[in-house]
Every structure is written in C-alpha cells, then in structure tokens.
Amino acid sequence: MSTIKELNISPVGRVEGDLDVKVYMENGVVTRAHTQAAMFRGFEKIMEGKDPQSGLIVTPRICGICGGSHLYCASSALDTAWKTKLSPNALLLRAIGQATETIQSIPRWFYAIFATDLANKKFANKPLYAEVVKRFAAYVGTSFQKGVTASGRPVEVYALFGGQWPHSSYMIPGGVMCAPTLKDITRAHAIMNFFRNDWLEPVWLGCSIERYLRIKSWDDLMAWVDENESQRNSDLGLFIRASLEFGLDKFGQGVGKFLAYGTYLHKDLYNTPTVEGRNKALISSSGFFDGKNWSEFDHLKIKEHVKHSWYADVPAEHPWKEPFPTPVQSQHLADSDFNGKYSWAKAPRYDGFSAEAGPLSRVIMNANPNNLNHQIQDPLFGDIITKLGPNVFTRTLARVHEAPRLYEFINQWLSQIDLDGEFYIKPEERDGMGFGATEAARGALAHWIEIKNGVIKNYQVMAPTTWNVGPNDEQGKSGPIEAALTGIEIEDPHDPVEVGMVARSFDSCLVCTVHAHDGKTGEQLAKFKL
C-alpha cells in the first residue's frame, strides 16, 4: 500500500538563520523536499548609503562562526574597488587568519555538531556503535571535550594578529592593521605546535602529519586505516570505519555539480589586486566541476533568483546588478506555498546550474590536473568522487581532510613573514566596483560592492549556505540540499534521522534537533536529533 506523508520539520537548525524543511514521502522514500530559511536579518540594506568601509565592521558580524572569512572578502572587495597595493606580509597575515579560523572549525564542527549524530539509535545494532558512543557522545564522549577545547587554540593565533576572535576587523584595504613582532611569530608557531601535539596527531590522526599527507587515492586511504592500530583507532580511523559500516556513503548525493571560489592569495602573486588576476593567484584553486570536467571560475556567471524567496520579484541578476531585496510577508512552514515564495534565502545559480559549495567542492578543485605549481595539487578527492560520489560521508571526510594541510600552511606562512617588511600601504579612496571572495570553513563566500559618491551604493553578500540551502530557482530547479534530500530512504518515519544527517553534512552551524508533524493532521510523528 502506497502511503504519502508530508513532514514539516521545524527547525532543522540554524544555517545563517533558522532552517525548516518540508518533505514529501512515498513508501518511505523522499520524493520532493523544500528548504526554508526562517529568519530575515537585512544586513546588506543597513550598509546602503553608509561609509564604504562599513563592510569591514558589519559583515564579520553576519556570522560569528565564519567572521574572519567575511573579513577576508570585505577587505578584498575594497582592494579591487580602490585598486590598492598589498605587501607580501599583508597577504600572508590575511591567509593565516583565514586558515586559523578554518582549522579551528574542524574539531569544533566535527565533535560538537556532526559526530553526535553517529550516536543515534538508528545505528545501535552496528558493531562499532558502542565505541562511537564512548568516543563521540556529547559532553561525556572521551574525545568530545578534548576536541572542543583544542578548537580554541588556533584562533589564539588569530588573536595575536587580529586582537581577538571572533569579530576582528584587522584586514583592511591596503593590508592589515597589525605589525607583529618576533615574539608574536614565535608564539604563533608554538601555539600551533601545541594544537598538533594535543589533538591533531595523537587524537585525530594517530600518525604524523607527514605520513597522512602521503595519501593520494582512495586505496591509499583504506591502506592507511589498516596500516596499524594507532591509525585504525584514531578518531579519524574510527570515523571512516563507522561511516562505511553505518552506510553514510549511501545517501545524500545532491546536484553533483560543485563550485569553489578558492582562497589563500599567494604572497607574491596578488600585490596588485584585480578581479581578473584572482584565479591565478590562489593557493587553493577556484573552479566549477560538473561531475566530469573542471572549468575556470568566472564570478560574472553567477545570478541570484528570488522567485521563491520572500522578496519582491525582480529578474535573476548578477549581484553587481541586483537591487537590495525588498522583504515581503513570510509564512510559517505549515502555511507555506511551495509553488510560490517560501524562504528568506535567495537561489543562486552558476551558469544556470544549482551547485554545491563546501569543503568537498574545495578539495575537488585541489584535484584539478590543471592546477598551477604554487597551487594545491592533491588528487585524492578526484579519485574519491569517481569511486564513491558525493554523499554524507565524502562531504564530511573532505572537511576533516584539510586539517593536516592547513597546519603545514600556517607554519609555512608564519615563517615567510618578513619582520622588516611593510604591512600596510595606505590606499586612495575612490568610487568603483569591487569583488572579494574566499572559502569559509563551509564553502564559497563572496562580497560584491559598488561605491558611488564616497558611500556604499550596493553591497551583496553570498554565503556558502545560500548556495546550499537556497530554494527553487525561476525554472523550478531544486537547490543542493533540496536535491540531496530527494530520493533518500527514511527507514523509520518516526525517526527520520537521515534528513538531519544530509542537511548536517552540508556543514550547518549548530547542533539541533528537529521534530516532525504529519502535514495533514498536525499529529506529532517523531522527535529526532539532527
């Protein structure tokens, strides 16, 4: 007997605002899903007509988790608009800020947000379940406190150069505010070293960073897991084994197209910032991957759609040409019309395609055979995406895969800072258009600015979550999370944990639980942890 159920899932958890999900199921399989961003904040509108540097103060405060990434974009957008000069030191200190924020987020996100899902009762009959609960359960898991506490260390380095984390504005057009001294550099090395000794090698990898970085393929990775007890039983080893045993590699595929803006501008290759020169100056490369081929990233191919968003209708446009959005009345999830407007998020599209942003996109770009010499060349995820495809497991693996490499980068960049060199070159303020982008911990982030008569005429922020959580576009095509939810099999409709895990694998910010209601009767079906 075919049964159709509509589930209203509210809230799924904060993703740049509150996320709600509407799911239509047939025989336990999701046939259609809609994502709803449930809060409006209007930060872009606040900047209209204000000081051109407002973005340096306002945008980091859009997100307390990725504030340094917003700052990286805001300062870059002004650099391109004002045609500044950047010293190698300035580029290094900005890259260090971005990298320390991202590496901080890896243990904080993995333990506090993701891994607690593995302790869900859905997996209670699996052999590794007991060990997973012992290690990853919230608060009491043996690795939980260790990982959450360790996550505070890398941002101490951020504080040495930015004064504090979160919410510093130390990256400014023309460079950085600080002019660090020897003792700041040596201490930064030592703090990172502590992070490695305290968590990264003994708890997470079970081996040296050097050993881990030798992994080049899926087979290498499997061989690494089985190489010895230390690696098998490390938190990473356990995560890989449990994911495969629990079947996390079997659901949450998504749209199969990937977008990364890339980040970490090379100290000697972006001293004269331009939008056109950006791609070649990146250390972690940008690009678009359609499932088979890589193509060069061009920000002019981005358009935002608002047909299904709670904003007054305007044609889909590139952010430089978009007006500030005009909010219209929203509805509760249960009352929403999914053929009409149903989310506070806009729907961005790249060259017309819905695309996934995030660590998985980033490491796929790292595998692009056309990467330049100074760019990361890591074939691992080119291989993994061919063999396993995108899913909950590969998305999470991509996220944690970056930690060892970032550790190496941070140390390398610290050692390249020239204490006798310049840190700031005062720019000339002028009107113009600017574009700044980076890779926040959870994916592609960009700012577009237009300055006219010495004030902000237009400011557009597009967050990675906008890419992933956005609703349908003008053509009715789904956003990445909507697509990833479609087709999943919900084993127990009274505990649809699969929905949560898919959304979570796109790197939502915070731990949440959702509840589900029967769309027709309003009867509560289940509570479940996301």
Binding site: P11, D18, F161, P327, T513
Partner: protein, 319 residues
C-alpha cells in the same frame, strides 16, 4: 544547581562562539563543576524541536524553574511589529522572550544585539530590531524601562560584539556561587567588575595617548585615538586587562577599539567618514574625548595639578 536557558534571536552566534572559547572555567567545567544546568542552548543542547517547546511551556507553567534566562541576538519585531521575521518553535521569538522574561529569576542580555539592538538596529533597521531593555542609547527597548525580573534585578547587560567569554562565565559563576550580591551594575546595567575599566586601561599604547603620539595601520606603537578612530578612552570594558583568547586584544594588535561595549555601536551609524577615521571638530580636534574630560579641560589639565597640590580626582574603581 542553577537552571539556565539560552536563546538566540537576531544573532550571528558570535557570543556563543566566544563562550565556547572560555577557559577557567570551560563550558564543560561550568556544567560539571559549578552546578550550572543548561536547560537548553541552541548549539550545545541535544534537545530541540518539540522537546524545546515542551520545555518552554513547562517553564512558563512553573513546573521547571528558570533561574537565569540568557538572550543573545536582537529582538526582531518586524514586519510591522508582528515579529514573524524571526519565528522560533512555531511562534515569533519575541512572544517567547516576553513571557520567559516574566518567569525568570534573572534575565541576562548578552552581546550588543541583545543589549542595545546592535548592528541590526542601525537605520533603516529593516528587521525592526531592538535590545532587551535598551534601544541604542535610550532606556526602554523590548521589555520596557521598568522591567524587573523575579529576583529583583533589571536586565543584566553583558555587551560586546562579541562579549568576552569571561564576562559571561564569571557572572554565571558569581550567581551560582551565591555572590550575586557582589555583582554591582552601572547605569547601563553592566556588571561593574568588568565595565568600570576603560579599554584604554592596560592598553599598550596608553603612554602614546598621553604623549599625543599618533599610531597608524601597519606600524608598531603609537596611539590610534587621534587619527584612526580608536574609542578605547571612552569605552568601558576589560579587554586590555584580561586579554582575548588568552593572548591579545584589538588595540594590542593595533586595531582601533570600535566601542562595542557602549550603547550606540556601531557609532555614528556607519556614516561616511566614521569608519577607522577619527571624526574631527574644527578640522583637527577629536570630536569625542575621553570620558570625564571636558573639551577645554582636556587640553589644559594635568601636569600642574600635582605640583600645586590641587585635590586629586579619585580613581574610578569597583569591587
């Protein structure tokens, strides 16, 4: 055992991120060693959804005691005062906040958005945001000027964008160890123990300030007050006394203080010429001066008083 409920409205989660960086005690130690029972927190709790709305209803009915209600983020009242721009657990968040505030022992507003409205409240204030008991510099806000919680205190304001983890955790420890009587609050409802010092207190450039030596971006040393808009001399907070992330502070890293613990942040509502620039009076004198200094006095005071034995001002202190 002290029961705490933490909710987020128009928030970026920055205060939560800051709180998670706390040491001595860490968040986990607060729970395990200091008798803090976190009923719910959006990023720490395992319960949410129906369990949360059940919990909220239990609190409102009085079957669960709420000792401290911590609120992060602005209170979103838009559009048109109905609050539906921020729904939570099937209701506008503002409705939950109003009712929970009435049953809580203490109400703590954390961060600038919750205290005075913060960035969301900058004109044109598209979300109709306000703070719990202030709207920018004006007392009142969402709960109204006269609001007093059950334990007899107004909203305790812990401002900052974000608030320093110590400002949060030490106040929670003070309450849980029975030292609430030692928590004095100033006229802006900030705990005096953290908000009596100025950001300049302990700033490494304070001597440059008194010698009137300019600093600037990318340079070492010099005071950021005169040219790049540092608000350290007129902003009360302990940033340079207890440091951030155990290491530093904005002004120690040559970053002008933004004045984020004072109502009105972002100051001058981001208007042209107000960002990282000192607003000038008569073209060359800083328009805003250190707290307690009259403009004329500021230029003529100091040196002679000591030698002539003129009565000294008492240093501003608090327990």
């Amino acid at each position: 055992m002290v029961n705490i409920l933490w909710l987020q409205g128009g928030a970026c989660s920055g205060n939560t991120m800051s709180f998670l960086s706390a040491q001595e005690p860490t968040v986990v130690e607060l729970v395990t060693d200091f008798g803090i029972n976190i009923l719910y927190h959006p990023s720490l709790a395992l319960e949410i959804g129906e369990q949360v709305s059940d919990l909220l209803h239990d609190i409102l009915r009085g079957s669960v005691q709420l000792d401290i209600f911590v609120y992060e983020g602005s209170v979103i009242q838009g559009p048109n005062g109905n609050g539906s721009m921020n729904n939570f657990a099937e209701r506008p968040m503002q409705d939950w906040v109003r009712e929970l505030s009435n049953v809580a022992g203490y109400v703590v507003a954390i961060g600038d958005c919750a205290t005075w409205g913060g960035i969301p409240a900058v004109p044109p204030n598209p979300t109709e945001s306000t703070g719990m008991q202030w709207h920018k510099e004006k007392k009142g806000g969402f709960l109204g000027e006269g609001f007093i919680s059950k334990a007899g205190m107004p909203v305790i304001n812990i401002p900052g964008c974000p608030a320093h983890p110590d400002w949060i955790s030490q106040i929670l420890v003070a309450i849980s160890t029975g030292r609430i009587g030692d928590v004095l609050i100033d006229d802006l409802h900030r705990p005096k123990t953290f908000f009596t010092d100025f950001v300049q207190t302990g700033c490494t450039n304070a001597i440059s300030f008194s010698k009137k030596i300019d600093g600037g971006f990318g340079k070492r040393g010099g005071c950021l007050f005169y040219e790049v808009g540092c608000r350290g001399p007129m902003t009360r907070a302990s940033c340079n006394r207890i440091l951030w992330n155990r290491q530093s502070s904005k002004t120690r890293a040559n970053h002008p203080c933004l004045g984020c613990t004072e109502p009105g942040f972002p100051h001058h509502d981001l208007k042209k010429g107000s960002i990282f620039k000192t607003m000038k009076y008569l073209g060359f004198m800083p328009r805003e001066l250190p707290n307690g200094a009259s403009r004329l006095g500021y230029f003529t005071l100091t040196a002679t008083t000591k030698a002539l034995g003129i009565a000294q001002t008492d240093p501003d202190t608090s327990k």
